[in-house]
């Protein structure tokens, strides 16, 4: 399982980085989402990989999994979801204003 999870994180991260280095805003947005998936899985794994154990501590429970990474992941998912929405809106706005969805600024735009 460790191999599976770690290679999944690796592949997602690599794909995400490749995509955010693209020239158009759509692949960049996809790249950001892939990166945030990668980091969510990574965060989840930081509490050690444990299968079929409750994340709740109470009497009679002797084995459990660390609940904190799950809470962190939940927060991270919500935030990255919101951020993806923002970046999609912004990219759309820029596309409508500028007429193309290139992510880079040309000389004149950078200097205005």
């Amino acid at each position: 399982m460790e191999v599976l999870v770690s290679s999944a994180i690796g592949v997602l991260t690599a794909a995400g980085i490749y995509m955010i280095l693209r020239l158009r805003s759509f692949p960049v947005v996809i790249g950001m989402s892939l990166l945030s998936y990668a980091v969510n899985v990574f965060l989840f794994a930081t509490g050690r990989l444990v299968v079929n154990q409750p994340p709740i501590l109470r009497e009679g429970v002797t084995s459990y999994t660390d609940p904190i990474p799950q809470a962190l992941v939940l927060t991270a998912i919500v935030i990255s979801f919101g951020m993806t929405a923002v970046v999609v809106m912004l990219a759309l706005g820029a596309f409508i204003e500028a007429g193309d969805d290139r992510i880079d600024l040309d000389e004149s735009e950078g200097d205005q």
Partner: protein, 557 residues
């Protein structure tokens, strides 16, 4: 009683912002009144908190009354209080300027976004929890995205997309860093982390050092240190003037986080050794050079100001990278100075842009503008202060930094030579924009934008920042004394750790005595505490233990 006020700088703007959106949506005048009142209240609050933080140990506010390290804590120490005051001053000035210049009516929701921005920045300065720092970073970023594209326009939207993507990548890196640190230490409370990291064996620090270095990269993105400064010039040049002025504190959030984390959690004497110093010092030197040379190469006034901000971040990081008490005190003085002067220069650039009509800020011949002499004087003072010429606080700040880094000749040479380059750069920009127009004195001055509310208010706001610089210069003695106290508090991390973690045991017993209903909760905490004292930082029982990797076992105590 005081401790409940610690949360107010976060809660007050958080309450005011939705009120402005929902209740005062269509009435700009009410929005303006509410915004100015809110900012004034924030400033008063910050000053009261600062007075309270100056006379005693750090104060702690436990959200939901959870015992550290299990809950989130807000910690008010001298450094946080200083940053709160600085932020509140800037917020008030920027709101006044935006009202005076009419910027707040060029798009929707300026005032509520400002309040959200204040909430995020104040939260980042106050929080004592690393993950919560991430959350507040996101709050301040999302507000800044809205402010950045305020008013719209092609260039602004396109550079807005760049800014957002760059910062989202930074946030992802932040999560990777936090994940790594949590995997090793099993906690994200800063004081608890500091204790745990200090106890790690010195021969097994690879993974925590990776976490520390990743965290440094994240904060370097925020602070615009080389090689992560690329987002800053396009963003600040294309942002509306008052927003760029407010962003002067945003780079300082990154600087603050570096100072906080690398004095408290990863001190230079601690497990990770001189990692922070080794990474920061070369980055700061290159940042300083690139920033100041950038002024020389700038093709318009806005760019020149933007690059001088990068240069000033480099200067202050040179001081902070020393990780000595004296240099940190000097760096803090310079931080206050550079925030005020950067904001002032951005406001001046905006005043010039509005008055120069179609010539904007570019370095071409243009007729004399309205209020020409006044603006030239403002720019002169601001440029002097930014370049570090006497008599203003820039000179004193650089002098203190040089004094604190005595004996490092390479560093001295860099600071002095880049100051000269900055003077030349500003002289070039200033003479083109403010002197050359006297050759065209008979031409009509360009038209002013029609939506200005009150140019006098905009000038007053800019003047207030310059008055702040003068005050910082006049009161240099007491201020730098106060900074010495702050630095000494920073370099005694035990004070911070005691304030957060100390007394937790007694309070737990107290609570257990008080009532049956509290009993269960406390028992769980006690159990977790015992678990914590065991072998693994994670609450994984032996039956479910995953195969231990090499780094894992010794990492736990």
């Amino acid at each position: 009683m005081m401790e409940h006020w610690i949360v107010a700088p976060v809660v007050l703007p958080a309450m005011l912002a939705p009120l402005i959106v929902l209740w005062m949506r269509y009435d700009l005048v009410t929005q303006r009144v509410a915004s100015v009142l809110g900012m004034s209240a924030l400033l008063i609050l910050a000053i009261v908190l600062m007075v309270s933080a100056s006379n005693g140990p750090p104060e702690v506010y436990r959200l939901g009354d959870w015992e550290p390290p299990y809950g989130i804590v807000l910690v008010l120490d001298r450094l946080s209080a200083l940053m709160l005051v600085l932020n509140a001053i800037l917020g008030l000035v920027v709101v006044l300027y935006a009202i005076g210049s009419g910027w707040d009516r060029r798009g929707w929701h300026f005032h509520s976004l400002m309040q959200f921005q204040m909430m995020g920045i104040n939260g980042a300065f106050l929080t004592g929890d690393a993950f919560n720092l991430f959350v507040f970073f996101e709050v301040l970023l999302i507000a800044s995205y809205g402010l950045m594209i305020h008013g719209g326009g092609k260039a602004r939207l396109k550079s807005g997309v760049q800014y957002v993507v760059y910062n989202l990548a930074g946030s992802t890196l932040f999560l990777f860093a936090l994940g790594t640190i949590y995997a090793v230490a099993g906690t994200l409370n800063m004081a608890d982390l500091a204790q745990k990291v200090a106890k790690m064996p010195a021969d097994d620090t690879a993974l925590i050092a990776v976490g520390a270095a990743l965290l440094m990269l994240v904060f370097a993105v925020k602070a615009a240190l080389v090689p992560f400064q690329f987002w800053l010039p396009a963003t600040y040049t294309n942002a509306p003037g008052p927003v760029a002025a407010l962003f002067a504190i945003m780079t300082k959030v990154g600087v603050y986080a570096i100072v906080r984390v690398y004095t408290l959690i990863f001190p230079i004497t601690g497990t990770t050794g001189t990692l922070a110093h080794d990474l920061l010092l070369p980055a700061a030197l290159v940042t300083l050079v690139i920033g100041m040379v950038g002024i020389l190469g700038a093709r318009d006034l806005g760019r020149a100001v933007t690059y001088s901000v990068i240069g000033s971040v480099g200067t202050m990081m040179l001081a902070f990278a020393q990780f000595t008490q004296g240099a940190t005190a000097a760096g803090l003085y310079y931080l206050v100075h550079s925030t005020l002067v950067a904001a002032a220069l951005f406001l001046i650039a905006d005043l010039v842009r509005e008055r120069r009509g179609r010539w904007g800020l570019s370095l071409v011949d243009a007729p004399l503008m309205r209020n020409h002499g006044m603006l030239a004087a403002f720019f002169f003072i601001g440029a002097l202060a930014m370049a570090g010429m006497p008599p203003l606080s820039g000179f004193l700040g650089k002098l203190m930094i040089l004094d604190a880094t005595r004996g490092q000749w390479g560093l001295w040479a860099t600071v002095l030579i880049t100051s000269l380059i900055a003077i030349v750069g500003f002289a070039r920009v200033g003479s083109q924009v403010f002197w050359r127009p006297y050759g065209f004195a008979e031409e009509e001055p360009p038209e002013l934008p029609k939506d200005m509310t009150s140019p006098a208010l905009a000038f007053t706001a800019t003047g207030a920042l310059i008055a702040g610089l003068v005050a910082l210069t006049a009161l240099a003695g007491p201020v730098s004394g106060w900074m010495q106290g702050t630095a000494s508090q920073l370099f005694t991390p035990a004070i911070y750790i005691d304030a957060v973690m100390g007394g937790a045991e007694e309070r737990a017993q107290e609570a257990a005595r008080i009532g049956q209903h509290a009993h269960g909760h406390m028992e769980v905490i006690d159990e977790m505490r015992q678990e914590d004292a065991g072998s693994d930082p994670h609450a994984t029982s032996p039956q479910t233990e995953t195969p231990q990797t090499g780094h894992d076992a010794p990492a736990a105590h």
